[in-house]
Subunit: 431 residues, 4 copies
């Protein structure tokens, strides 16, 4: 039998708290799960620094990747024998679902920002490069690795396949909303996924939703909205992320300035030099990053040591609402005051902005094209969701942005009571 | 106001998926949670290697410690104004609950076995030593640290206080059964904790259970039984633990033999020398251990490299039922065959035994004294649980033991097909 | 001890699937639960005809009444020692919560429509009249019955007390959303009630919500919106209700025309005569109504027999979207066609409209005054919810109305195939 | 297409809180659900008088019957293409599952006891008699009704089919344990049904369980044990049942003695005469019974009136542990004392016994043959469950029996304080 069609002698089952069981029958999927590249995802948290806000959020990307695979598996089980669906693309869908986050590194957001990386680029490189994953994909067929990479990169010609994993209601989002809600324990992320799966229908170039399932979709979009603002953008989480970015920035600066590290940032060198090769990249997991942070608590550079101590022992920055675009003068003054007080604003004063667009449809001329969700009406027509749903219409296209200023309140409180600088800083911060 | 009575301006709340919310009002508890020693528990998994079997089991001891605290808080909220209960011991109970696992290291079981350590000893040392935790406890009162340590060590005179945290139905067990069931996703660990809390009553030297709650307790004991055999003793988890112990054993041997490490086991030296000081101990968290394991994959010693590769990339040992006491001859022969095949049995052949006693009452003359669970009958009398419950009686005092043999099947399969050794090994293993 | 302060020797506990346990300590509450008037609520379904759509929705108003009591109990437990809260009004709140639905009859909606009744009026009459409930309330104090009735009727001077039971986020709504979701099994009605209870604060004339709980309230409002459209207004449920109303209408007409019933509508006579006394009212529970419907299946009047058969055996009317205001001509034509076909449109053709206003604030000059939900901002100010929440703002004040036409498709299909009437009816119905 | 193979144009789905969704594709199943005989099950509570103890337990047999159908549907979906399974018997299994409780009347237990009926006999008569159900079954094939009846009656030759619905781990039990736990809200009845369904395998004459699923089965048996003693045998429920039986007994006696009823027991006449025809039987649902009970509260016979009042308004009998076999003398004395006090012991003094055998295997020579649960071992052998499971072994074959005495405490308390009879009765009752 061809490798691509090989079935396991007995179905393998993973116990999963979110989907109850994850079922694997294909040899290819089983082999991919066993690769070092995929196992590495166990050492990268799904929600980065969120565990410092929600102590339950310690789950890994390994968890989530299995979940996305399982959702796609269930969707296409329902697609069998339906028009527009080509059973030949089943394995491609499952594989792309499983591997879609393969290139994520530890605390991706901060690393990407500081070192100018792109995890999607690394997903592609792992799939196409000299890796165990690639070897397995090659065995399926010579063009299979590229197809998988193209689906993940959204350039695969069959957009129906792409939309399973990347659209405004895809397996990726459904899994992470449910999963992150489960592990954090918040009550927001719930929606009736089983119902949504039952009303999904394949069409020429996308998955659409039967009209009768519209309310389940509304619920999903509301969940998404709440999870973004209550969990993903939580200011305590962002505070930890600000510190993390500052650590990376400081290490890079120290390295470039010739600073003598007590414990050298060996695993980071290629990042500093902007020439990250694949082998080095996959070695950098969260354990390694935390090892360095912990040892750097004892470095003599006071900024690095302090920032690492803050991250490791969770002494985070405080925050206030602050929009530097509207408060230009205060922003400039604060930087001056910090300098005068001997607190380097480069590392200790940061504005972080979060913004979210809970749902949108394509508007000609806009930069980022968002594939709208389409409802399949009883008469066979397709209709864009927000034209049918009052709730969705009301939030459609409405971008909300929050700006917050992060700073070490303990430093400010530690300034001399008589200091005018302290008084003035507090005046500005307390509005 | 005395520090011990200080209340937070506003109650702090942690979102917890198991108990929904964890409530903190006492300044002392809040300060303890903020210490580096307590935050360190975020970097130690509650279930060690279980995440390699149940991918959801990635939660930390930080999680569990907050949970035990919360359960004790709820129990003693119900105790207020009841006979035998002394509200003066409230803070002591809460503190002991919060800190009871403070001395746990990474993968404690293996470390304790290989290096002859005892995590309870370290809990004591952290509480009594020169630590942030100790400073806070000192502020409560000079004898407070010792009292907390004594409660955890079960030597505190008031046994009622001790039994909240250490008995056959204590806050520790109730939390870990519910929590581990939640994160693994298994359906076994559920019981009606709310009901049990409602029927707990303080007595002179123990917590007892009102008779009307007996069935909830039966359910709890069954949950415990199932969790032990289905989760805690799962052979795949034990396989990972066997490998972990072998890594530690190998590193120690290499170190003692003067082997030149590419990446030196700096953090382990005091462990090898059996002189672990507190400062070094608390630095060794799971991130550090995983950092070493990952770097040692590239060590030139083939055994160390192979074992680390197995652990990091989850290439575990296979297992069969095997009782070396009953199968002495095969045991000896297997060791010989492994040696002949060039597979060092010291590192690649191991028997691991699990045994559990789901419930027991004290029997005079026995080594380990187990405090029985007592029911408070409607007539005010106390009665040992198994005398009242058929179910509990039926499993009471029945120890069950499983023996399994672990070995690298891939090595054996890799032996030459013509080899008689291979054939004979497989014969023995397949019974 | 005064009766109003009497506590039960031991707390009584009801197992409740929604709130886990319902706790009763007050003798007055316990006595009220035991009255025939309250026990009667066991024989009246909470959701009327919804069980014909959602088979799980068989729960009674007894269930719900206990739930509302429990929620109020929890709210005011948090209010103790807070400003604006008067512990003297505790028992009044609990009693009003427990009894707020006491006057509901079977399938209230239809009975009220056909016979011009008002269940709130009967609640008042049971509380103030010659009943077991009244006797118990009298024992508390002579003015207690009136106070309870006034709270339920929203005329009690202390609006804080009123708002616990009647406002846009009261105990009544919170219980029914959670409870109806639980029993129907739909996934919409969930929101974090525990969080909402924690952020409720008493103020001078209302309960307000701390700003930090805004998102839980948004979730609650969305749940409400979804439950209305997915459950409460479900067209199959409305179809059963249409038939029920038609039965009542027919029985009344037959009675007034002197028809000789095989089984006389003894229990209905006072309803026909518009002089319903209390004693007769409380005797009419769902069992009695269903007894009549079942026996009337065998009545010789074909309309009554057919309608009863439809209700008892669930042969419901079909429905289409139809707005008679916009489709005046078709509406008139349909009625003509039905008459020609020998199907009395008075009983077999009905438009039913549902409309809902998910949230609104007071607008001067409007008929129905709706108390807005106020957020308590960090600076102590109060702010109307929709000014703070984008989501709520977007649906605030937006009334949505659905019109549906109900008719017996089986009758129409049973018309002769050659009939032009049949053809024309189907043309209109299929749009 | 043959009627037996007809599929619905679109799958029908029932929202179910226990199984989430119940799926119907077969036209035959859909038609059966629509019959008056099946719809009648909506008017019969699954747990009889349990709602007077657990207010949530108001669900009907309609609910449960759909649930059993759904479980069988899922089981045999897994059986397809497996040895021993004949897809030809699919519809038979589904139909028997759906209809297995069709003959249940209101409060079956009491009716069967007082009037010597057997609900299984009525199930058979409805299936084979002149009913809508029978017409549908006839359309499938002339012998189909008999086959369905035989499966339910356990006389069908293929025991594999029988065991799906009647064995110690069948769809009937799995559904009622989960469902009754859900509606009562107790935490006992949970077990991992999904896992059990996955490990069920068809064999020659029974369904067996793969060894790897043994622990899920242990959990199921423990759930069963707890549900029996905590829910089904709850003494408050039994108290209501005792009263119910006494009402039926009294009505019968009054009827036979020529008593003139104010409201005649028309629906009961054939029951008194022991000649219940099918038509009359299916008319007697719970609404009808409750209608009579309510009207009989006003009957002039004081016993009937009192008993009906007790049932309708939940003034139940109290109870104590009492074994008349061991306490013969007290039993006789109590009856004398009651007579002297003017309380008819025939109606006001009753011993009720409950006994349960949580699991058993066949023991030669025993009256009731119980099909044991067999495990399918890895080597292909079958093994009786209790030989493999310590837990099950420990409770296997152990029958537990409880005896309770029920009596109207309010009557006794109402006796004159000076009465020696009262004193003596209380002495005996209080042991």
């Amino acid at each position: 039998m061809a490798y691509r069609d090989e079935q396991l002698h007995e179905e393998k089952v993973f116990k999963d708290p979110v989907h109850r069981y994850i079922h694997v029958r294909d040899r290819v999927i089983w082999d991919l799960i066993g690769t070092p590249e995929f196992q590495r995802l166990r050492r990268i948290k799904q929600l980065g620094t969120s565990y410092l806000t929600f102590h339950g959020a310690e789950h890994s990307r390994f968890n989530h990747s299995l979940g996305v695979y399982e959702i796609v598996r269930r969707i296409i089980e329902n697609f069998r024998h339906r028009p527009f669906w080509n059973e030949e693309e089943r394995l491609l869908c499952l594989t792309a679902a499983l591997l879609h986050d393969l290139g994520h590194g530890p605390f991706s957001h901060s690393f990407e920002k500081v070192f100018g990386l792109d995890h999607e680029d690394f997903t592609r490189r792992i799939i196409l490069g000299n890796t165990s994953v690639n070897q397995i994909l090659q065995r399926v067929s010579p063009d299979f690795p590229k197809n998988v990479a193209d689906v993940i990169h959204k350039t695969y010609p069959n957009k129906l396949v792409v939309s399973l994993i990347s659209s405004q209601i895809d397996a990726d989002r459904m899994d992470y909303l449910l999963r992150d809600a489960y592990y954090t324990g918040v009550s927001y992320g719930h929606f009736d996924m089983e119902r949504i799966l039952r009303v999904m229908r394949p069409m020429e170039d996308q998955v659409v939703i039967k009209y009768s399932g519209m309310h389940a979709v509304e619920d999903y979009i509301m969940s998404r909205y709440q999870m973004y603002w209550q969990v993903y953008f939580h200011p305590v989480t962002r505070s930890a992320e600000v510190i993390l970015s500052k650590i990376l920035q400081r290490v890079k600066e120290l390295y470039e300035s010739g600073y003598e590290f007590h414990v050298k940032p060996v695993h980071f060198l290629s990042f500093f030099n902007q020439e990250v090769n694949l082998e080095e990249y996959v070695k950098l997991d969260e354990a390694v990053v935390l090892y360095y942070f912990q040892t750097w608590v004892d470095e003599k550079d006071p900024v690095l040591s302090d920032l690492c101590n803050r991250f490791v022992n969770r002494h985070l920055f405080k925050y206030i609402e602050f929009n530097p675009n509207l408060q230009l003068k205060q922003w400039a003054e604060l930087q001056q005051l910090f300098k005068k007080a001997g607190i380097d604003p480069e590392y200790y004063l940061e504005v972080d902005s979060s913004s979210d667009l809970p749902y949108d449809f394509y508007r000609p001329g806009e930069e980022e094209e968002r594939l709208p969700i389409h409802l399949l009406m009883p008469d066979g027509e397709l209709r864009e969701l927000s034209r049918q749903s009052d709730i969705v219409e009301s939030i459609s296209g409405k971008k909300r942005t929050d700006h917050k200023l992060y700073f070490p309140m303990d430093f400010i409180e530690g300034l001399s009571e008589r200091s005018k600088i302290k008084k003035r800083i507090l005046e500005i911060l307390h509005g």
